[in-house]
């Protein structure tokens, strides 16, 4: 990867869960602006990397955001530095209404972008009094994304498999929202849907068994069947995933 200012820098990130060494000296950098993809096979350590950056799992190493050291901060302090998080399983608060979920995400002092999130996801406005647990999977994903987009001072969004288990129509909507969000903040995106990933991301970082296996541009990765097959298990690399 070349050009552009580095926003997020991760050096020698190690995570152990029980006896397992999940992340092994992961070193990566994310440039400011656009969407950087964090790809890899199942179990490669993508979700753990995002959780490690946030501090949701115990880790060693160094993590800086725009030069500011995050490693020794508590999770909420990392988030207040401008890190938004959209977890893999959405993790909306099912007993709270849509409006309460969003209200909970409000950070004091941060410009709030209700117009943006309700513009991107009008369904959320219509269902603001509805319990989040009664929303469909797609609507819950919209709410999860909306929580991360709400705060105007987020510098980077860590987005974990936002299209997982969604219908094609909702996938389109989520992808459009991510593209719009990328105009406002840098995104580090974990995505298993490679056609979506290919459409959205520029730089890619590939993890394999807890280590960085590849960094470069998505077109280079997808355009090389051997590389794609090796790191992503993609049989028809370069055939079904052209950028649209």
């Amino acid at each position: 990867m070349s050009g552009g200012r580095t926003l997020l820098n991760v050096r020698d990130l190690n995570v152990y869960i029980g006896e397992s060494h999940i992340l092994q000296n992961v070193t990566l950098s994310v440039r400011e602006g656009g969407i950087t993809g964090l790809l890899g096979r199942n179990g490669a350590g993508k979700t753990t990397t995002l959780r490690g950056i946030l501090g949701l799992v115990e880790r060693t190493g160094s993590i800086t955001l725009d030069g500011r050291e995050l490693t020794n901060l508590a999770v909420h302090e990392v988030v207040r530095c401008g890190v938004g998080y959209v977890p893999e399983d959405r993790d909306v608060f099912s007993g709270l209404t849509v409006a309460e979920n969003l209200r909970l995400a409000e950070r004091p002092g941060s410009p709030l972008r209700y117009d943006l999130v309700y513009g991107l996801f009008p369904e959320l406005a219509q269902r603001s009094a509805q319990k989040a647990g009664t929303l469909s999977g797609g609507q819950q994903q919209m709410l999860s994304l909306a929580r991360a987009l709400l705060n105007g001072d987020n510098r980077i969004l860590l987005v974990d498999e936002p299209t997982k288990g969604l219908s094609p129509l909702v996938v389109k909507q989520v992808a459009a929202a991510l593209l719009r969000a990328a105009e406002l903040a840098t995104i580090l995106l974990v995505e298993q849907n490679l056609s979506v990933a290919h459409r959205l991301v520029g730089d890619v970082i590939v993890l394999d068994q807890g280590r960085i296996a590849y960094t470069g541009h998505v077109d280079t990765l997808m355009g090389d069947p051997a590389l794609a097959r090796r790191y992503l298990g993609l049989a028809a690399a370069g055939e079904g995933h052209t950028r649209t």
Binding site: D91, L96, R103, L104
Partner: protein, 294 residues
Amino acid sequence: MSTIVLLALTGLGLGALYFLVASGLSLIWGLMRVLNFAHGAFFTVAAYAAWTAQGALHGLPSPWMRWFAALLIGITIGALFATLTEVLLIRRLYREQIGQVLVTVGLALATLALVQGGFGSDPKQVQLPAWMTATTAVAGAAIPNTRLLAILAAALVLIALLLFLQHTRYGLIVRAGVENRAMVSALGIDVQRAFTLVFAIGGAAAGLAGVLGGAYYGTVDPVRGTEMLIFAFIVVVIGGLGSVTGSAAAAVIVGLLQQFLNYYAAPGVGDFAVVLLLAGVLLTRPGGLAGGVL
């Protein structure tokens, strides 16, 4: 008929004390997953603080003023003791449940020993305003006013807790934290502050129960906090861990069951029936009567 009314209202009064202890216990478990065996100590220390304060405040002109000042002192001491427990002991042990159990059991035993060392093992008579030693006629039954006071206090605490949970930001944080604490942090919220606040609220409610318990029984007793804690744990499990309204409903059920069966069957049968009820709920509805924090 008057016996049924008497048993019902005294049962509700007992349930009110259980609820005051159980509500904090339930919220602490729901938000922090801490089994706080020291919760009975908050009850005991507050009761003795109020008893001591009443003796020291003899300069106040009326028994009501003395009792009310002692009540405020008891509530404050309960909240303070709970806050210090969270800040100094529990905070270091959030990821170690065995450690939490050992520390809170140890604190409960140490508190009991200290209270017995300082005040003796015998119950101490509580000075009460004349109204609290009198009864009120309800449907032909003479109901001790302390029972009515306990019911009123528990109802007000229930309303206050529900308003807090539904209409304040910290209430929102607590409700969300009961579901998914990590995600609350991942939204940039210092959930630690909510932990401390919930401990303080739980301690204040237990402190209120301690002072009202003194009025209810007419004495303060070093072991009453421990006895209350046992039934409060049962109430919390039956009501649903983390649920305030569940605790309220369970406290009413437990209080009524105890009173009626202890009277109509034999003394002690009510307590045994409560344990059977607990077993039945655990077998058929392990999550308790209610779902969710409200």
